[in-house]
């Protein structure tokens, strides 16, 4: 499993696909917002938490189909399925590698991008923390969606339709944590729920994804 995890990170960085694409997309979305809604500082500050979270979520979605599709196409998935690794271990390792190559860079990039949206000073800490603990849920739920659609050529649309509704709780609690902090309210409860969502996804989604992969390989 360690070998698979490290190889997926290596592939993500070397091919530039997952790693560069998500970051560039996030950067573009956030940079375009002031052009679209005007550079009014108070307005930008009020939409910043939502924009940053939606941007991170969509950027994450962009690279989901790479989790299993490429391995399916070149026969790696067949070979992995007959290897000593359990399928749930394979899906967990690949989802974790996806988080390291997309969720983690997005979390790090969100802080300087928050400055572009005039995010209030008090909110940077909670923005970073909420993304850090929320993005694992995006990768693990996404891996489940990717496993369901792995056999479908150009399954991106179906993948988005399946995964986006499951992303809504993460988005709500993530953005709400930041908004509450800006308004001077306590964000502990929403952050706790966000951690809960991530842990729930990390524990259960690899097994669900393994079942979906098994059905698709047959």
């Amino acid at each position: 499993m360690r070998a698979l995890f490290l190889r997926d990170i290596q592939l993500g960085i070397r091919s530039g696909g997952g790693f560069g694409l998500a970051l560039a997309f996030f950067l573009i979305v956030v940079m375009f917002v002031p052009f679209g809604i005007g550079a009014e500082r108070a307005l930008l500050a009020s939409v910043a938490p939502g924009i940053l979270w939606i941007g991170a979520l969509l950027a994450c979605l962009l690279s989901l189909d790479r989790i299993f599709q490429l391995d399916m196409e070149d026969g790696t998935l067949d070979t992995l399925a007959t290897s000593p690794l359990p399928l749930s271990g394979i899906t967990a390792a690949k989802a974790a590698a996806h988080w390291v190559t997309t969720g983690l860079p997005l979390t790090l990039a969100a802080v300087p991008l928050g400055y572009l949206l005039n995010l209030p000073n008090t909110a940077y800490g909670v923005l970073f923390v909420s993304l850090l603990i929320g993005t694992p849920a995006l990768s693990f739920i996404g891996a489940f969606g990717a496993a369901i659609t792995v056999g479908i050529k150009r399954g991106g649309l179906l993948l988005s339709l399946l995964v986006l509704p499951l992303y809504i709780p993460t988005l709500i609690f993530g953005a709400l944590s930041v908004t509450r902090t800006i308004n001077g309210q306590d964000a502990t409860a929403t952050l706790a729920l966000l951690i809960g969502l991530s842990l729930f996804s990390i524990v259960l989604m690899p097994f669900a994804a393994a079942l979906a992969l098994k059905a698709n390989l047959k």
């Binding site: 026969g75 007959t82 690794l85």
Partner: protein, 205 residues
């Protein structure tokens, strides 16, 4: 160690394509599947590898001792041949990458990205993975595709070594490979007579 198939039936999608396939292999045996394109060789091999469902019959095969090599080489184009093999060594928890690269004579291109290799070179790296796995039962789907005569002989020699060491090889090919004591099985004789297995087309509707 034994591979025993009793009255296997295989389906591709909803269509039953093979039925009543039976054979028994012991350590040191080699089974060569023959048959025209579309006869069901690949499907049977996928069933044996556990990658496709068994429609009927009984199969005894130790999945923990089996290594499968399909039509595709399961290589990552961005990585070098050595990195690919090292990855599989990590998956199978073995430590024989350098030895296998020497055995399969991959040294001259082992450190080039797989994207720059020819189809035959990729094939050789893909087949080397079977030795990396250090597993006893090899299931090979047309292993000689895109290999030249010299490398075909090298792979055939590898297969002979493997069965001489007590391994079992099940492969499909259209060529005459020089493997003594190999059992040939023409799977055309198992062609299914019942074609449609879809439950949705049964009964009144």
């Amino acid at each position: 160690m034994t591979v025993k198939a009793t009255n296997l039936a295989c389906a591709r999608g909803d269509r039953m394509i093979l039925q009543d396939v039976s054979f028994t292999l012991d350590a040191g045996d080699c089974l060569i599947l023959r048959g025209a394109n579309g006869a069901g060789k690949s499907t049977l091999l996928r069933v044996l590898a556990g990658l496709a469902p068994l429609a009927a019959g009984e199969l005894i095969l130790d999945a923990d001792q089996m290594a499968y090599s399909g039509h595709q080489d399961a290589l990552k184009l961005q990585l070098t041949a050595r990195e690919n093999l090292a990855f599989w060594a990590g998956v199978y928890d073995t430590h024989c990458v350098d030895q296998v690269i020497a055995d399969y004579d991959l040294g001259s291109f082992a450190d080039r990205p797989v994207a720059t290799l020819s189809a035959g070179q990729k094939r050789r790296v893909g087949l080397a993975r079977l030795s990396i796995s250090e597993r006893k039962i090899w299931i090979m789907d047309e292993p000689t595709t895109s290999l030249d005569a010299e490398n075909r002989d090298r792979i055939t020699a590898k297969i002979r070594d493997h069965i001489a060491a007590g391994g079992i090889v099940i492969l499909s090919t259209h060529l005459d490979l020089d493997i003594p004591h190999a059992t040939a099985l023409d799977i055309a004789q198992f062609g299914a007579t019942v074609q449609d297995t879809s439950p949705f087309l049964e009964g009144d509707y």
